[in-house]
């Protein structure tokens, strides 16, 4: 299976601290996307990083991609209570890109006020 794995499965930190989540995958990819999901509702798109990119930023989010290690990390700086959610990485490894996404099992992040 191509399914990626997020690490850790669960993370609890104090508000204001930084949170780091990791994602590993198995084969070459076109892109990797990170999503947030609150309480079993829809997925919110956070950031897309393409296979030829190494780092991207969006507000308090920083994503890195290491294709040699087949891994990615998501850093959330200065965490807030509203960041409490499950975070998923999803890889697109199809021949042309944008065909289907394969998700990991997610990291459950809890921000303690």
């Amino acid at each position: 299976s191509q399914q990626g794995e997020e690490d850790p499965q669960a993370l609890s930190i104090q508000e204001g601290e930084n949170a780091t989540m990791n994602c590993s995958y198995k084969t070459s990819i076109n892109n990797l996307q990170w999503y947030r999901q609150n309480s079993g509702r829809g997925l919110v798109h956070l950031i897309l990083i393409r296979s030829n990119e190494r780092e991207k930023h969006s507000g308090r989010l920083r994503v890195t991609l290491d294709t040699s290690k087949k891994s990615s990390s998501l850093l959330i700086t200065a965490s807030r209570a509203a960041d409490t959610a499950s975070y998923f990485c999803a890889t697109d490894w199809s021949n042309f890109g944008n065909e289907k996404l394969t998700f990991g099992t997610g990291t459950r992040l809890t921000i303690i006020p």
Partner: protein
């Protein structure tokens, strides 16, 4: 700009029945994909529609079928429902098949089979 919209939000069906879920893609998007998310798991790809044709399919039985309309909206149909079909069904839209761009998801339809 409306995002991806799905209906209904919740649904309860009896085992053996049939169900139809609906999705309207984000404005400007022409590709729709469907995913099934069981409790505590990541979403699993069901299939994808582009130009009104099924382009890719995941590891789901033929009981799962779909359709895309000329306005790019889509339906997911599940026949002969099983208890194991209880899940959150997510629709995602994106632009083009070969564009390597973001996929945006709707809020999902929570299906409970009793």
């Amino acid at each position: 700009d409306a995002g991806v919209t799905q209906s209904p939000t919740h649904l309860i069906k009896t085992r053996g029945q049939q169900v139809t879920l609906r999705c309207s893609p984000k404005s400007g998007h022409d590709t729709v994909s469907w995913y099934q998310q069981a409790l505590g798991q990541g979403p699993q790809f069901i299939f994808q529609y582009y130009e009104e044709e099924e382009r890719q399919r995941g590891n789901f039985p033929d009981r799962f079928s779909g359709h895309q309309f000329p306005n790019y909206s889509s339906e997911l149909n599940v026949n002969a429902l099983l208890l194991g079909d209880s899940a959150l069904y997510l629709c995602a839209s994106s632009l083009g098949l070969f564009m390597n761009t973001e996929a945006f998801f709707g809020q999902g339809t929570r299906l409970t089979v009793v």
